[in-house]
Structures are given as structure tokens and as C-alpha cells.
Symmetry: C2
Subunit: 599 residues, 2 copies
């Protein structure tokens, strides 16, 4: 039994066994209703994101069947709706575009291989419990990256909206390429694209409040507003068919093969694998972060939890299944998960029902999409991604914290000018470097006793009692190699500026860890102070830190003492300060001491 349990720890969990056992009629109703609505929403999205990824429209449908079924088995979120999403589709297009041109016979197989590698990586990360790695993508980096991706995606769709050809993976390339094409704009195409976009914007911004004011329930209104793209498709397909617009140069989806997703195999070409490995990793991480954020937000609303490592396994299985059924990289989508939740989905079975819906659509509906103008899909993409763009983050981070602002700005600018992958890597590098930089210059306050209390405060901010014989320093950061020298410098400063110094007390209340380098720094601080006839004391050392220090030579040979509280240290080392304190009376007015000037 024990061995089985030990093995089980390494096997992925099957959440379906948990919720499946308690499945009832109420859950079935909720899931079925949600699945119908999500299916209606997913059909245009899956077609559009396939085109964004540089693939035939049917690839989007294929990527919305098997992955949803696999997620329903392994996923720990009850309501996450998996499938093609905008940013991951853009990253797919960029990656495969480096390797071969869209439409070439190698393109789709490469996208399938990318899904395979991404799935394998996600699965491996999940089994190795590496979900925490995604934490190193900071919110500002994600935000800058998503905004920049939104702009890039919108720019990349302009050519389809205008009915021209343009290329480029950076904003500058795209805009230059587009700029030259403006005179060639195909007006009927542009009319369809622009009016669809305007309609969809109106639906997004105005329809929902209108419906609510007309007495429709708030939740139903939100769901109806999400069906805008389907309505736009129906109208533009009808118009194109009626007026034979495709014979006038309006590009249409054309013949989408009818049938279930095909059985496909990823390429086993190791050269291709090496080329796709890094992009696959970035796609995996971005997809995982997007998926977990929405999953967590929705789970918390029902006091449920999701397991990040289990999500990695589930997304890994989904992407692997995409690679075997003609799809491309998928992940949990924000908008459609929210719709799924609002529409009443109770369990991952809703996702499985959606998969059935999409399968039925790809069996029956594809002939109806023959006349679908590509400009309509481009308009749905533009409207969807514009909502991703949030320049407010620049202002908010500028106000709150300059390093965070720098991380957003670098990610945004690098993604727009260098492309999605260098942008993401630059953002992570800058945010880590800034974090390390900040912790390498810790706030170290020289503190003194607040008269009439047992509290100690910064001598620069408060009127406090100090002695020329004793300096108290409070370090507001864990001590580690990058900041240990700062402390040495600060102690050296104090020694150089206090000729009568006899005691240095380090108040350690905010020190959560002391690594080996910092321990050596403490030892050399202690040795230098000892050479200069000054004792080093510690106060308010935390339990876990003290546990480790206890066994060291530093503590065994410390010239000074370790005090439970800073006040005890002062009471023992400079009792004259306390006399001054009581002399000033309980009111605590330090009449005899001039106020410290703020330096």
C-alpha cells in the first residue's frame, strides 16, 4: 500500500473521478446550457484564431475538440474553456513564420509539432511540479506583453480588413508594409471589415447596457452580447452570397473540409525540434499564466481552488491531443471562460459538451461558412484584441513604483519593436534585474529610542534619543550576497563618523534570512569592529534565522550579546539613555536633547 501511495504522488491526479462521481441532473442542465453558448461563441473565434496563426480556418475547429475533452478529464478548474486564443495564436504565427511561409506545405505540420512540444513541456513541468516557474513572469511584464501583442495582432489584421497584402513580425515592419498598400485598399472588403468592426464595438460597449435597460436580466444580457460575432458572420455570409461579393475580389473562407478532426502526427525532425524548443517554452509559459489567472479568479468566486501543477498536466494533455488531431497550441481563454462561468457551467463536462458542439459544427456547418468573408473574421479578432490593450498600466505603475513601470515599458517597447519572443525575454530579464538591484540596496535605518516608549525609530524621521557610544542599525531586508556589502559599508560609515563608538546593535526584526555570504560579512564586520575596540550586538533575531546562526562560529565568538528586544539591548548597554528618558518624565519630552536634523 505504501509503495502505491508513493507512486501515486508522481502520477497526475484525475479530477474527473472527483466531480464525476457526484454528477447530477442540476449540474447537467447548467453544463449543457453553458456548452451551447460557448459553442456559439467559440466557432467564430476558433476560425479567426486559426487564420491569425496562419493556418486554414478548419484548424481552429480541430483545435477545439480533442483539447477540450482532455482538459475535462485532467483539469482542476471547473469552468475553464480551453481552445485557440489570440496571444498564443500570434506567437504560433511568429514562430512558424520564421521557419516557413504561411500556406506552404510545411506550415501546418510545424504548427502541429509546436503544439506537441508545448504539450510535452507543459506535461513535464506539471509532473515535475515546476508550476512555480510561471511566477517569474511579473504582472507588469505580462500586462506589457499582452498589450503589445494586442497591438501587433490588430495591426496584423489590418491587411485582411483592407484586402491587401502586408508582412512583418514587428509593429514597425507591419506599419511600413501596410503604409505602402493603402492606395490598393479593396473597398468592398474594407466596407465589410470596417462595418463589422464598428458593429462589434457597438455590441461590446452598448448592447449589454441597452438590453439591461430593456429589462433583460444582467447575466442573459452579457451572454447575448457575446453572440455578436455569430450574428455578424450570419449577416456578412448572407450578403456575400446574395451579392456574389467573392467574384468582386472579397476574399472568403472558401471550402472548409467537412468532417471530424483528422489523425495527425508531430514531426520527429530533431532539427525542427531544436528550432521550436524555445518558442514552445515561451508559448507554454504564456498560455499557462493566462489560463491559471482566469482559472483562479473564477474558482475563487465559488470558494473553489485550482492546482497550478495539475493545470500544467491538463494543458499539456490538451496540447498533445491538439497535435494528434490537426490542431495548434491552445490554452484557457479569458473571455470564453467567463462566459462559461456566467452561463452556469458547473463542471468540466461543460467543456466536453462544447467539444461535441464544435465536432457537430465541423460535420454540418462548414458548407454554410463557404461565403464567410475573411474580413469579418479579421474584424472579430481586432475587436477582441483591442480590449487586451491597456495603456493605463503605464500610468498606474509610474505612480506606484518606477521599477515596475520600467518593466512594463521595456516589455511593451521590446515586444512591439523586436517581436514577441525577444520582448517577453527582455521583460523577464529586466524585472528580475530590477528586483535584484533593489534588494541589493536595502533600506538600513539608524534608529533611536522614541522618548517615553520602548519603540525605536529612524533618527532621520523622528526625534529620538541616541548615545554617542552606541549605534543601532535596522536592516529592512533579508541579508544575502548582493546586499551584504551594503551593510558592511553602512557599519564602516557609522564607525568612521562616531569617534566614541563602543557598541553597534543590529536590529534584525525584518531579516528573514542570512545566507553564507552575509554570514561572512557579519563575521568580517564583527572582526573589524573588534579590532577597533567596538562590540557587535544583535537584537530581535527571528526564530528560523537564530536556529541557523546558533551553530555558527559567528555567534559562538560574538564580541557582543544577542538581545531578545532592541529595548533590552539599550537598557543593558547605555543605561544613561534610559535615565535621560525617565528624566524627561512620562510625557516623553526630550527637553535636554536637541532635535535631530533631518539629513
Amino acid at each position: 500500500m505504501r509503495n502505491i501511495d508513493a507512486w501515486r504522488r508522481w502520477l497526475p491526479a484525475l479530477p474527473i473521478l472527483d466531480w464525476g462521481r457526484r454528477y447530477d441532473r442540476e449540474a447537467l442542465t447548467g453544463d449543457l446550457v453553458a456548452a451551447v453558448i460557448v459553442t456559439i461563441m467559440l466557432i467564430p473565434q476558433s476560425l479567426a484564431y486559426a487564420l491569425l496563426a496562419g493556418l486554414p480556418a478548419e484548424a481552429g475547429l480541430y483545435a477545439s475538440v480533442a483539447p477540450l475533452l482532455l482538459y475535462a478529464v485532467f483539469g482542476s478548474s471547473r469552468v475553464l474553456a480551453v481552445g485557440p486564443v489570440a496571444v498564443v495564436s500570434l506567437m504560433t504565427a511568429t514562430t512558424i513564420g520564421e521557419y516557413t511561409a504561411p500556406g506552404s506545405p510545411d506550415y501546418w505540420p510545424a504548427a502541429i509539432t509546436l503544439a506537441f512540444l508545448s504539450g510535452a513541456m507543459l506535461l513535464a513541468m506539471g509532473l515535475l511540479r515546476l508550476g512555480f516557474l510561471a511566477n517569474f513572469l511579473s504582472h507588469p511584464v505580462i500586462s506589457g506583453f499582452i498589450s503589445a501583442s494586442g497591438i501587433l495582432i490588430a495591426a496584423s489584421q489590418l491587411k485582411t480588413l483592407m484586402g491587401v497584402k502586408a508582412e512583418g513580425h514587428t509593429l514597425v515592419d507591419l506599419l511600413i508594409s501596410l503604409g505602402g498598400q493603402v492606395p490598393d485598399t479593396h473597398l468592398p472588403t474594407f466596407a465589410i471589415g470596417a462595418s463589422t468592426a464598428a458593429f462589434l464595438f457597438w455590441v461590446r460597449k452598448r448592447l449589454e447596457p441597452l438590453l439591461v435597460r430593456a429589462g433583460v436580466g444582467r447575466r442573459l444580457a452579457a451572454v447575448i452580447a457575446k453572440t455578436g460575432p455569430v450574428f455578424a458572420i450570419a449577416v456578412t455570409v448572407t450578403l456575400t452570397w446574395w451579392f456574389d461579393l467573392h467574384t468582386h475580389g472579397v476574399r472568403i473562407a472558401g471550402a472548409i473540409p467537412r468532417g471530424l478532426p483528422p489523425l495527425t502526427m508531430p514531426s520527429l525532425d530533431l532539427v525542427l525540434w531544436r528550432e521550436l524548443a524555445m518558442p514552445a517554452l515561451l508559448i507554454s509559459v504564456v498560455g499557462f499564466v493566462e489560463s491559471v489567472s482566469v482559472g483562479q479568479t473564477l474558482a475563487a468566486k465559488r470558494r473553489q481552488r485550482i492546482e497550478p501543477d495539475q493545470e500544467l498536466v491538463a494543458l499539456g494533455a490538451s496540447n498533445l491531443s491538439a497535435s494528434f488531431t490537426g490542431g495548434f497550441p491552445v490554452t484557457g481563454g479569458f473571455a470564453r471562460s467567463v462566459v462559461n462561468f456566467d452561463a452556469g457551467a458547473r463542471t468540466p463536462a461543460a467543456g466536453a459538451f462544447t467539444a461535441v458542439g464544435i465536432a457537430v459544427a465541423s460535420l454540418l456547418l462548414t458548407p454554410a461558412l463557404y461565403f464567410l468573408p475573411q474580413a469579418t473574421l479579421a474584424a472579430t479578432i481586432v475587436v477582441a484584441v483591442i480590449s487586451l490593450v491597456d495603456f493605463g498600466i503605464l500610468r498606474r505603475t509610474w505612480t506606484y513604483s518606477k521599477p515596475d513601470f520600467a518593466a512594463v515599458a521595456v516589455t511593451l517597447v521590446a515586444t512591439l519593436t523586436l517581436g514577441v519572443e525577444p520582448g517577453l525575454v527582455a521583460g523577464v530579464a529586466v524585472s528580475l534585474a530590477l528586483y535584484l538591484f533593489r534588494t541589493s540596496r536595502p533600506h538600513i535605518a539608524m534608529v533611536g529610542l522614541v522618548p517615553g516608549t520602548e519603540h525605536f525609530r529612524n533618527v532621520l524621521r523622528h526625534q529620538v534619543l541616541v548615545s554617542p557610544r552606541l549605534v543601532s542599525l535596522r536592516v529592512d531586508e533579508s541579508l544575502y550576497f548582493a546586499n551584504a556589502r551594503s551593510l558592511e559599508d553602512r557599519v564602516n560609515d557609522a564607525v568612521a563618523n562616531h569617534p566614541d563608538l563602543r557598541h553597534v546593535v543590529l536590529q534584525c526584526s525584518a531579516i528573514n534570512d542570512i545566507d553564507a555570504s552575509a554570514l561572512e560579512s557579519l563575521e568580517s564586520i564583527e572582526a573589524r569592529l573588534r579590532d577597533a575596540g567596538i562590540a557587535l550586538h544583535l537584537s530581535e533575531v527571528k526564530g528560523p534565522v537564530m536556529d541557523r546562526l546558533q551553530a555558527t562560529d559567528f555567534v559562538r565568538h560574538l564580541s557582543g550579546r544577542i538581545f531578545l528586544t532592541q529595548f533590552q539591548a539599550i537598557a543593558a548597554l547605555t543605561p544613561e539613555l534610559l535615565a535621560a528618558r525617565s528624566a524627561t518624565g512620562p510625557a516623553g519630552e526630550p527637553a535636554e536633547l536637541p532635535p535631530r536634523s533631518v539629513g
Copy 2:
């Protein structure tokens, strides 16, 4: 005036103007005595390290004149002795050895260019005040790197000691190459090398205590022990000359050109620059770290200070001057700075006098070094570097902290097996990754009230009072992007495990910073808790953190309150706990509450 002051901030300081003004006879005496002793010590070292760097012996003398003069002008340490040192010479040999073979006409010019690039980088880093970057080399990484370098250097000298040829930049290559050569060992050479090494070990370990016991002053004994290499040179030169050993195959230094350092120019070949840039940076950082460590240690003994950024400027100027006078990369040496200090050096003028001494030696003494066996120099190197090797660091870090142990071990193994540069880079990468990993999994304690006090402790470690309606979490780390999600997870856990939960209090006493990502996490924690009908409160928020939070929507719309102390939070939110506390009486025995089990 203001403009001049503003400009002056950007100009390097000239410490010589400070100590030069107050120079007196006493300082002069101390400096002269120290200079004579350091000169005697530096002559064999400079020759030996030139050979280690793959250069002719005279390059070592050249590198010990101009750099010392420049350091005397710009250096902020009173006693640092600059010149060729072992580790930097090894790094020079490795770098230039990648580019061309030792002895080829391109070799020395490349070393000169390396000194130029390193000097320019150090100077630029000093003017840009980037001295803090060296802090990212942790003590364990430096220690592992120096030990591994010592082993590599000793191994590289074995061939000279044995009178054979061997090559390789990694330990494995060197040992394999040497292993094949053992039968070819040149016995007279090996006899000289081995007996010199044995003599020098004896001098290092035994002579000083012997002299002290014989009544010689402790400081003088230490200085005499440092002249061992000069004595060994005198003896082996005499033996070689007397017995014509060079005609029997003992390799000798040969004709060392007499004269002052030549005027040289670094190459301006940008391709070479690009190849040398990364090594030059690593050499600069390693040299700077070595120099600053010894400079700080010695300065503190006299209650003086050194300025790291000024040291960068001084080392930059020294290396630039080395590149214009036929030298190679130099830095402050540990052993010779200690000798300089012990011999009574008072100001950097001692360094200038040493430079004069070396200049005189290179004018007069070089003919006497014609018969100097290379094995003697190899022996001095081996004995010098063996003292750098410290495997104790492995045991010490293993006991104290496993991440530090990992950093030492990775650096040591990578340096020995992959070479000095990959070793150093791997060490820095691993130590940063481990630091980030640790801070990404902060210690978060669920705390409860210690009965009869106002203190709060970990519920897993102490017998404390808790309420099913309130959870208090204390985060022992600053909140930033990599650990914000941990807190979300922990709060989600708490919510899932406490069905009656109404209040969550975050005790922020150890939180020194909250970045924008963490703020967003707090916002989403707050929003999720609010959706679940739970209020989020904060307590003991630090001043600087509160300053920043004050202006945010998070604080403005917080569902709960911000308490000055954790006790006030409990008193306000769960007064029934305090009733239980007083019911147990002042002794604080929580009679009615079962002790918490340790999870």
C-alpha cells in the same frame, strides 16, 4: 560654482590630494621600509605570474611599475599593493590561449589589449558608479571559483615542475595530458622544482613560528617568511649557473631584456575586442572583488574606509597604464597587500616606491636572472596558489545552508571541468536562481495569540489561541512578483479549510516592499475574499510600504481595516478570543483549548 560642483560629481576623486598634503617624515619612513619588502616579494611573483599568463618573464616586471604609480594617484586604499596576481593571470592565459598559442607574436599584444579593455571597463564602471555589480558575486561563488582556480593553476604548473609539455584549460584535460608525460619527466628539473616547493612549504608553515620562538618579533618574522621565494631564487640561480644545469635540459628564464617598460599600444582590431569583451568583463569583476575585499579588510583595521567606485577608477587607470607599458591585467594582491600593511606602509606612496624598486630591478637585476630555472618559478606559484584552495567551504556551507553549498559546488565543479569563465558564469547564475527560488517560496506562518500576552506566534510551533472566524497570516518576505502567487495560494487554502471564515488579517511586520504585481495579487485576494463574504485586514504595515499603499485603490476600497498592531486587529475583530485569554488568567494557561498538533 554650482555647475563646477555638478561636474565634479562626475569626475574621479584624487585621494592623493588628501593624503599627499599631510605627508610627513614618519609616513615616509613607514612607506620606504614597506616598499623595500614588497619589492623583494614582488620580483619573483611578477616573473612567475607572467609565465602563468603565458608571457615572457619581463612582462611581469613591466606590469609592476606604471600600474602601481597610477594606483597611488587614484586609489582610495592606503595599503593595497597592485600588480599581477595568480587568478587574473590564469584567466588571462585562458582567454588569450583561446585566441592564439603562447609564444606566438600575437599573444603579448592580445594580453595588452585585454588589459586595455579591462581597464576601460573598470574605469567606466567606476565613473558610472557600478561598483555594486560586484556584489552579485556571492562569497560561496568567489570561494569555489578561487579554490578551483588554485587547483587549475597548480595543475598547470606541474608540467613546468616536471620539465614536460602539457596543455589544457580544464583539470581533466590537464591531468590527461600530464598523465601521458610522466615517463618523460626531466629529473634535474623535477629535483629543482620539487625541492623548491618543499622548501617554500616549510618556510610558509614552519619558519615563522620558529623565528618567533627564536625571539624575533612576530611582525618581522612574518616579513622574513615572505622573502622565502627570493632566497629560493638566489640558491637555484647559483646552482644552475655553477653546474651549467641549463646545458642538461633545465629550462631557464634566459635573457630578460634590461630596461624600463616599453611604450606599447593596445590593438584597435574590433573583432579582437569583441572576442575579448566578455573575458575582460569577468577579469575586471574578479580583480575588483579580490582587490576590494583585501582593501576593505585592511582599511577597517585602521578605522579607514575605501570607496568601491573610486577603487574601480584606480584599478581602471592601473590596467590602462599596464596596456600602454607592455603589461597585462593586474589587480590588488592579497598576500602582498597584507605584507605592505604589516611592514608599516602608511600611504599609497609605498606603492609608488615599490614601482621605483621594480623599475630599478628591471634596469639592473635582469642579467642575474638569466639562470633562473622556470621550475623555481613554477614552485613559487604552486605554493602560493595551494593556500587559495579551501575545501572547508564545502563543509561549512553544507552545515549552514544548502543553497550556498550548491552554489559553491556548482562553481567548483564547473570551473574545474568547463574552465574559468563558464565556471564563474555558472556560479553566478546558480546563486541568483537559488536566491530567486527561495524568495519565491516565502515562509508564511499562520499565527495565533500566545495566551496571556499580546504576542503572536506560528500555530504549528506554539500553543496559541485561534478563532474559526479569523485567520492571521504573517509573510516573512517582501512581496514581489515571484512570490505574490504563493500568498494567493495560501489565502485560498485558508479559505477552503475554514468554512466559518469571516476575517483574514495579514501581519505585514516583515514585508519591506510590495511591488505592483504583489499589489495586484492583494487586490485579487481582496476581491475573491469579498466575493466569499470575507474581509481582508492588514496589520503592522511599515512606514515606507504604507506611504506607497496609501495612494492605491487597494487601500481605498479595502473591505477590512489597517491596524497598527496585530493585537489591536484581534481585539477589534474577535474579542471573544481575548475573553478566553482573560478567562485563562494571567498565568496564560489555555486550559480550555486543546494544544494544536504540529502539522
